[in-house]
Point group: D2
Chain length 123, copies 4
């Protein structure tokens, strides 16, 4: 368990922690966009393994404590590589996220998309 | 472009936006963990397509404005599904991230891992 | 629909078709291992999109003809990049597959693994 | 190493081996389409890990014997889940592959696509 107490990290706080982690270890030389992307794909694979033989999962209420910890680790690994990749690509992720949520709202107007899983071009 | 001005979103701010987005559209019924996970895999695929024929990419300085916008969108899509999946799995992502960075620091001590891409069990 | 009539292609027949396809178009220059791998990840993403909002799927009996055709295309795309990647990595895929099935049989002995989804190291 | 001697397996031979493997272990109950798809994503992740820190890879001539064996295993794992998934989805993979190669040929006419990595809709 970490000693730090923070239930609500920001994207920039995480980005800064990753910058320091890489810089301390002289890892920037390895953190090219495609290296980070393939590492992210590797972590998405590990996340998928947790769910692969479970059939449909309504929620995680039946996960053991060990499984929940493992799940938190794999979700974190994906997030860490994603934020690091964004940083190395000079993407301001907060701005990009706000733009994307706005676009999604335009593509899926509340009235048309209510209770529907249709793709926007089929609405 | 969004009207909101926020260069540094927190994980909980994004989580709350996604909760409201889904609730407004009555989409919680579709947001089961495995549905969200497969949607995330779909977005990782779209992110990979941006890089697939480029050969090694040092940075994104040669990306066109259109490519950079597209890249920001795909990175955001992955992030949004990841945060939504974590929420639906009842994972406190900030805590999980801090724990994972701590564990990574233990697995990769600065002195042993400096300038090395070796996996921790080969250090 | 293709004019060719072959319900049972071999791995080498497919490999050879892909070699000719790439050679006719002078595409070998683009078919580096990591380019092909990222293209494969892209196709796995498209395959996942077909299943992403469906909840648990027992079989494809309720898929429309259009969905089944789309599914066949995405499965093929993954297969084609996989065989091309193997070729460019000088892997004899038939030998590798036979070795792997043999290893899987050793890891999952019939008696121990019957009707169990446990991982081999938990058997 | 396997005792079987076959340098050129067909898709149906592999499909049949997998049917027998699953049937011997009563694993059909676990082999639903989405379970197999997530297992495939897991294996694509393991395949990506092999390439993740390598930077651009021209070919595998500098891979150690152990790495080449590992690569053959991961390529095989992806192939096995892909063929099993196709089988469980009632897709005739040979027909689907021939159709797809035909479609690709129509989308990428030799003259227009020669030595170009452009997407078909940009040709």
């Amino acid at each position: 368990m970490n000693n730090e107490n923070n239930d609500n990290l920001s994207l920039i706080e995480i980005r800064n922690k990753l910058r320091k982690f890489a810089s301390d270890r002289e890892w920037d030389q390895f953190h090219t966009p495609r290296n980070l992307l393939l590492a992210l794909v590797g972590e998405v694979g590990e996340l998928s393994e947790i769910f692969q033989w479970k059939g449909e999962v309504k929620d995680t209420s039946e996960f053991s404590d060990k499984e929940k910890e493992h799940l938190g680790e794999e979700l974190s690994d994906v997030l860490l590589y994603l934020i690091r990749l964004s940083d190395k690509c000079n993407i301001n992720l907060s701005n990009a996220v706000l733009d994307k949520i706005k676009k999604n709202g335009d593509k899926y107007p509340v009235e048309l998309s209510k209770s529907s899983a249709k793709k926007y071009n089929d609405l």
